[in-house]
Amino acid sequence: MSGDVDRLVVMEAIDKSFPGVQALESARFDLRAGEAHALVGENGAGKSTLMKILAGVYTKDAGKILYKGQEVNLPNPRSAQQHGISIIHQELNLMPHLTVAQNIFIGREPRQVLPILLDDKAINAQTRELLAQLHIELDPRTKVSDLTVAKQQMVEIAKALSFNAEVLIMDEPTAALTDAEIEELFRIIRDLRNDGVGIVYISHRLEELFQISDRVTVMRDGRTIDTVRIQDVTIDQIISMMVGRTIYEVTPEIPEGNSQEVALEVRHLNRGRALRDISFQLKKGEIVGFAGLMGAGRTEVARAIFGADPIDSGEIYIGGKRVNIHHPSDAVRHGIGYLSEDRKRYGLTLDMDVETNIVLAAFRRFLNWLGLVNKGKVRRISRDLVETLAIKTPSLQQKVKNLSGGNQQKLVIAKWLTADTDILIFDEPTRGIDVGAKSEIYRLLNDLAQEGKAIIMISSELPEILRMSHRIVVMCEGRITGELTSAEATQERIMQYATQRTAVTSGD
């Protein structure tokens, strides 16, 4: 094994757990000099965690890392950089108020005779040289906040390489780039590869892998499934490795929605780069699942409909009538409820009790003519809801923070039911909830749909989407890339749409 000189990096049996999650379980990975190695997997498969361990951002719980045949210890980013391992994070890590050169040399500025003095001339000159090597046209003195995202990415690459990086890890580098910018990025990657740099490329865009990578490693549930040469596989094979067994695929539990009445229609919704030409319909009594990878724009759709983010253009119809929603209060008035993915932050006031939380969104209805709270009514309605939804709480006066995740989620549902909502948007309704509570939430969603509520369910768990939805809308990068009926849908087909980067539609 140690005789394997061309292997720049070997990671073996890496374990890593975070509170409540086993993020990596005996994961392995290897990288050769001069190769572009793609790392793929579903959300939460452990790709970023594994690479953050290699870059010294996280420390491993167990396992070993060999670098050029030697076992190494990488306790912090600095030590990884000194070994020549650099990472470009998904969220760019630049200081927008500083210039390109200042960003590249932050933390290791060349000093003048007096060691507290800066030498901006030197860093500008060195940066200019570095950028020239990479064939990037950029003035080192430009402020980073004045650059496009693509150019900022180039600055990150230049910064990584200025450490004489031999291993360069890129976490979803193309997520925010246009096609032309991606071409530029690929050119740089190819140049680096030819210079012998080992490149790890984490991406959700499978078709890209075939343009740029030599080998691909697939991860699932914190484990490494396989590493293969790219010419030996097809996209479909990669997808089936990513989603794995299909034992979760049960037929939808819900009887087909029989209503044809459209509750909500969205036409040509646009918001910057986040949402592009979103159009869909939602019928009464229907559950529509929104699938897609992280950052596909599903939550953004929900927030736009709910009036939480301003839209650039587009129309929203409720019950056939065009409505203007500028603010969440407009949405509530039109009978829309949004159950945020982060219920602790947006959905509940944790320090208040159960009954107060239940009535909070419809407080006005509980006031008497003097403007005082009608406590009897509050209690009656809360008690009813706690019973119907089977919320387990010792009393109505219990503080919400003391309830379990599942019961908190039910409480959010109770809250929106008192507000008389007809359209409910659930964003990751079962995140952080144990299996038993999950099935109760599923049952609740079914009941609500049967009562005629129209439901959008955003979920990153494909089995959940397949199990619950009448129809499935798949998004990728702010666009709807596919729509499937529950009969047509499979994990593979959803993944196909979710990784499909459609050509930019012409004209605005």
Binding site: Q81, H89, I106, G107, I116
Partner: protein, 332 residues
């Protein structure tokens, strides 16, 4: 049709957002005030009054210079007013109670300020107590210690005759007879040049900006964030120390009951000067201009015989207006 509009819009936008505009806003306000008061009163643009304004600005200006660094990192320092007083009292104790030479008293006063800043910075960066709370606490501590050490009484510098000269003597008059500009003014401009040098030419300044721009990225770049944050608060305290020495020299005494409220004037000057409270940007020139805007305003209103109570009201209005202009600029 759209084509002709789009780029034009983009260019007004970039002009509005540029640093030059930000500097111009405060500078423009200062010019407007100067012109307005000159026209409104013949007593405004006189040599004596201008020197009065400069002297009036000196202490607030020096305090504002220091807190500019802290605000650029995205922090705040509420303790500089009473730390200034603490520094005056320490100077007095060194010079009068201990009988040390004046220059040692001056250094001791500045050192006391720097020490207070160092304590602020250590608590904030190592113990992770929010800046607002930490410096609020140090504000009280410095105030209390000043009262304890001085035994509630002003300490006069009559026994150290050189001390008053630090602020009120005039080196310039010795060179140009008749130009009686007190040293305090020179010290303020000297401190401003020093602060500009620190911010723009040294590692400390670079990390000050980097911390305010993106602290996490700065940390990931291997910068010792805790150390540099502590240094930033130390610098701020050091400037408060200079302010304390100036104040004591101007009054020829250390006044232990003074000081509270000075921190807010200094922060107001920084903000008027275009430094963003959310961190990442700010200039020394802006701060100095901001400090002048405040003292010109007070002086001009007084000359126009507007009661002091109303001067305070107007100052508050100008502060909000200044920040609102900056908000508009950013939104553009």
């Amino acid at each position: 049709m759209d084509v002709s509009i789009a780029p034009k819009k983009a260019s007004t936008r970039s002009v509005l957002r540029s640093d030059a505009t930000r500097k111009f806003l405060a500078f423009g306000a200062l010019i407007v005030l100067l012109v307005y008061f000159s026209l409104a009163s013949p007593h405004f643009m006189t040599f004596n009054n201008v020197v009065g304004i400069l002297l009036q600005t000196s202490v607030n200006g020096v305090l504002a210079l220091g807190v500019t660094f802290v605000i650029i990192t995205g922090g705040i320092d509420l303790s500089i007013g009473t730390v200034m007083t603490f520094s005056s009292v320490m100077s007095a104790i060194f010079c009068i109670n201990w009988g040390l030479p004046v220059w040692l008293g001056v250094l001791g006063g500045m050192g006391a300020g720097a020490l207070a800043g160092f304590i602020n910075g250590t608590i904030i960066s190592r113990m992770k107590v929010p800046p607002f709370i930490t410096t609020l606490g140090i504000m009280y501590i410095a105030k209390g210690l000043s009262l304890v050490l001085s035994e509630l009484r002003p300490i006069y510098f009559n026994a150290a005759p050189g001390f008053r000269e630090i602020a009120m003597g005039s080196v310039i008059e010795k060179i140009i007879p008749g130009a009686e500009i007190p040293n305090a003014v020179l010290i303020m401009f000297g401190a401003a040049i020093f602060a500009g040098f620190l911010l723009n030419r040294t590692i400390l300044g670079r990390y000050t900006l980097a911390l305010g721009s993106n602290e996490e990225a700065t940390r990931l770049s291997g910068v010792n964030v805790n150390f540099w944050k502590t240094m930033v608060y130390t610098v701020c305290g050091f400037f408060a120390g200079i302010g304390g020495v100036l104040m004591a020299a101007r009054l020829n005494s250390a006044q232990p009951a003074l000081g509270q409220g000075y921190e807010l004037d200094a922060i107001a000057a920084v903000v008027i000067g275009g430094t963003s409270l959310s961190g990442g940007e700010g200039t020394i020139m802006g701060t100095i201009i901001g400090a002048f805007v405040m003292s010109v305003l007070v002086n001009g209103l007084r000359i126009m015989s507007i009661e002091q109570e109303w001067q305070i009201v107007i100052t508050g209005g100008i502060l909000i207006l200044a920040v609102y202009m900056d908000v508009i600029r950013r939104r553009a």
